[in-house]
């Protein structure tokens, strides 16, 4: 398939792997920010191809993972109301709230629907004027334009029974939060190609400069990721800390300007709580004054909800690249994709779920071996 096969080419992957091995002299820890990249790394076994000196840690870039518990509870409260049709992307339905998930709401008679575009939810609102239609607007900068477009269209066309439950988060503040942690051990970043397709990459210049870290905008296929790693390690070995663009077939310096304009019209920057990490200032998007009537939190009066994470869960540390999934005692025992304790086990793109799917035998064997040795 065009634009896929050439980026999953085994020979090219081997060549890039050899190049990474030959350029690596020191010991480097790189963080891939996006959950899609984490998934590809584990799925294709990319980390197993790397030299000992290059370690990958997995970042906070899975929107399902970082959506705070209380927001799931808010979604559940809204979706349980008889007058509501609650629309969501599919992977949010499985995310457990404090007591249940949206699948349980659906099983108990709630009208919960999977849609593929927020504009579909606007259409449902138009077709069901006697219902309140709510869309769960989750995601990074990647999904923000479509969500902004849905609200904009609802306003333009006078659809008043539509609102969105917003939990938009932004990548650059998350990278800064990781870098400013005293435990941070990340030397370089692979920035998320899809996010930069929308936003461009000028936001990363001040971060690379301030923290002296190379940031390479990287795609999602194995060859993309290997090339991103090569570029990042090469910078580190040469003592450089620049913003480079590996994903040039999709990303322009200024991103997608019309999409950014739509985001700016509908959303404003707000502080957001990140699941497992806590509140990060200026790290999310909320609706502007002009679009406040489309804010489901206000419409259904759920703004005051709070919820605490399970104590055993170390997903916050995993999301910041401080720990890896295997270092958690709950991993694979009391915490599995069927019964996730925390964010990173819930989504396919969460680091714990990816390790559970593709690596749990290795982890089990390693644990057995270390126990045997003690």
């Amino acid at each position: 398939m065009k634009y896929i096969d050439e980026y999953r080419d085994g020979e090219l992957a081997q060549k890039l792997t050899a190049a990474i091995h030959s350029v690596t002299k020191g010991k480097w820890t790189l963080m891939e920010v996006c959950g899609g990249q984490t998934h590809a790394i584990v799925k294709f076994g990319i980390d197993a191809l790397l030299p000992e000196g290059v370690e990958l840690v997995h970042g906070p870039g899975c929107p399902v993972c970082v959506t705070p518990l209380e927001l799931i509870d808010k979604a559940i409260a809204i979706a349980s109301r008889p007058e509501v049709i609650f629309c969501s992307f599919g992977d949010m339905l499985r995310v457990p709230g404090s007591e249940k998930d949206l699948f349980i709401v659906k099983a108990n008679g709630g009208d919960v629907r999977i849609v593929y575009s927020p504009l579909d939810a606007v259409k449902i609102a138009r077709e069901n004027p006697d219902k309140e239609v709510v869309f769960f607007a989750v995601g990074f900068e990647t999904t923000a334009p479509a969500n902004a477009m849905a609200v904009w269209e609802a306003k333009q066309t006078g659809v008043e029974n539509f609102s969105i439950l917003v939990s938009h988060v932004l990548v650059p503040p998350a990278i800064e939060a990781v870098l400013s942690s005293p435990e941070c051990r990340v030397n370089g970043f692979l920035a998320a190609g899809h996010v930069c397709t929308i936003m461009g990459y000028t936001e990363y210049f001040p971060i690379a400069e301030k923290y002296k870290v190379p940031i390479v905008v990287t795609g999602f296929e194995p060859v993309d990721i290997l090339q991103g790693i090569y570029m990042c390690v090469k910078q580190l070995e040469e003592g450089r800390h620049e913003v480079e663009n590996q994903y040039a077939r999709s990303v322009r310096r200024d991103g997608n300007v019309p999409a950014r304009n739509r985001i700016e019209e509908v959303f404003r920057i707000v502080p957001r709580k990140w699941r497992g990490v806590g509140e990060i200032p200026e790290s999310g998007l909320g609706l502007t004054e002009e679009y406040a009537a489309y804010d489901a939190e206000a419409k259904f009066d759920v703004a005051g909800y709070t919820a605490d994470e399970p104590e055993e869960c170390i997903s916050g540390l995993v999301l910041q690249g401080i720990k890896k999934p295997a270092e958690c005692s709950a991993f694979g025992s009391i915490c599995t994709p069927e019964h996730p304790l925390g964010a990173t086990m819930v989504s396919n793109e969460g680091a714990c779920a990816a390790y559970y799917r593709y690596r749990r035998d290795e982890i089990r064997m390693a644990r057995a071996a270390s126990k045997g040795g003690n």
């Binding site: 398939m1 949010m92 593929y116 995601g139 799917r357 593709y358």
Partner: protein, 351 residues
């Protein structure tokens, strides 16, 4: 009666009178009698059904038989490449075939929601008849129930089937052995994507058709050509991954497969890339995996390739050691990963 065995080219129940199925069509009285005689018996015409007995009575030779059942609740009931009727016949026929049984006869139970369009029922019944003829089975006995409007989803169908296992054939996970070749009978994932596209109104440049098809002829051709088949499994909801994991666990053997040997049509791959699905977990309704003696692998692929249902057959891997029950896939870039069953269901991702 028309030559193809279907009583009439159009719906035999007077549409002007009953354009929809009424509760009384399942009530045991005249209307039900009219539906059964006019539509089911005349369509599925065969000696067993024509006796109008409480059950089908038939002779069997000495030997072994296979018996299976499955219920069909697919939504939408009509989709590119098939419908709930062809699915209900092929699904059960295929379950028998992968047991090494030549399908003989099926029972069919209809649960119909009040208000279901009579014309749609006719389309489903006609499709079942065509599928049964293609698979060489008869629909020997049946049952009809009509439930209140809102208590069903249009139509549900259960079919059960019996088949005869020829002498000398022993198929099952217990016969999987180290070195066996793993054969996949064609490209994967088309049924899953076709259903999803029809259900969700997703549009692609071309119309993807379900792979729904009967497998018995292709499977029995392998036996006839002397392929030593040790185990088979048809791929259904859990996809290729789940079938491999189940058989690895049931046999206690490791299975090693190569990603690049698995055929996935370009449109299916495209849809998976967009939606974040893995073709390994997509539903199929006309595909199976076969475990055959290593030296028979090429012959098996050749024989299967001669059938429409085996178009795109390939050798995808080998059976490894026992006990080491796990499935390992060599990815397209040459690294290994574990293949696991899916948790819950595949859900379209956010980004």
């Amino acid at each position: 009666m028309a030559d193809n065995g279907i009583a009439a080219a159009t719906c035999p129940i007077p549409i002007s009178k009953y354009p929809q199925v009424m509760l009384a069509h399942g009530g045991g009285g005249k209307l039900m009698h009219q539906l059964i005689e006019g539509m089911f018996v005349s369509s599925f015409e065969n000696p067993m059904l024509s006796r109008r007995h409480d059950g089908a009575v038939f002779d069997v030779d000495r030997g072994r038989m296979a018996f299976t059942t499955d219920s069909y609740v697919v939504n939408p009931i009509f989709f590119p490449g098939g419908d709930i009727g062809s699915l209900a016949v092929n699904g059960t026929v295929n379950d028998l075939a992968v047991c090494g049984a030549r399908p003989l006869c099926l029972s069919t139970g209809f649960i119909i929601e009040e208000g279901f369009e009579m014309e749609d029922l006719w389309r489903v019944v006609s499709s079942m008849k065509r599928a049964a003829d293609a698979a060489g089975v008869v629909l020997a006995t049946g049952d009809t129930k009509v439930v209140d409007r809102g208590k069903g989803d249009g139509i549900f169908i259960n079919t059960a089937g019996v088949g005869v296992i020829p002498d000398g054939i022993d198929i099952g996970p217990h016969r999987i052995g180290e070195g066996d070749a793993v054969i996949l009978s064609g490209d994967i994932g088309r049924h899953g994507i076709a259903i999803m596209a029809a259900r969700e109104g997703l549009e692609f440049e071309t119309t993807l058709e379900s792979d729904c098809a009967p497998l018995a002829d292709a499977i029995f051709a392998m036996f006839d050509q002397g392929v030593r088949v040790n185990c088979m499994r048809d791929l259904t909801r859990g996809g290729l991954a789940s079938a491999l994991v189940e058989l690895s666990e049931a046999s206690g053997h490791a299975i090693r497969i190569s990603e690049s040997a698995i055929n996935v049509e370009e449109d299916v791959r495209g849809a998976c890339e967009i939606l974040g699905f893995d073709p390994m977990y997509l539903a199929n309704e006309g595909r199976f995996i076969g475990f055959v003696n290593a030296e028979d692998a090429d012959l098996a692929v050749d024989v299967l390739s001669g059938f429409e249902a085996g178009n795109g057959a390939s050798l995808i891997g080998r059976v490894g050691k026992n006990p080491d029950a796990r499935v390992v896939l060599e990815s397209s870039i040459g690294a290994d990963r574990i293949v696991d069953m899916f948790s819950g269901e595949q859900l379209p991702r956010i980004c």
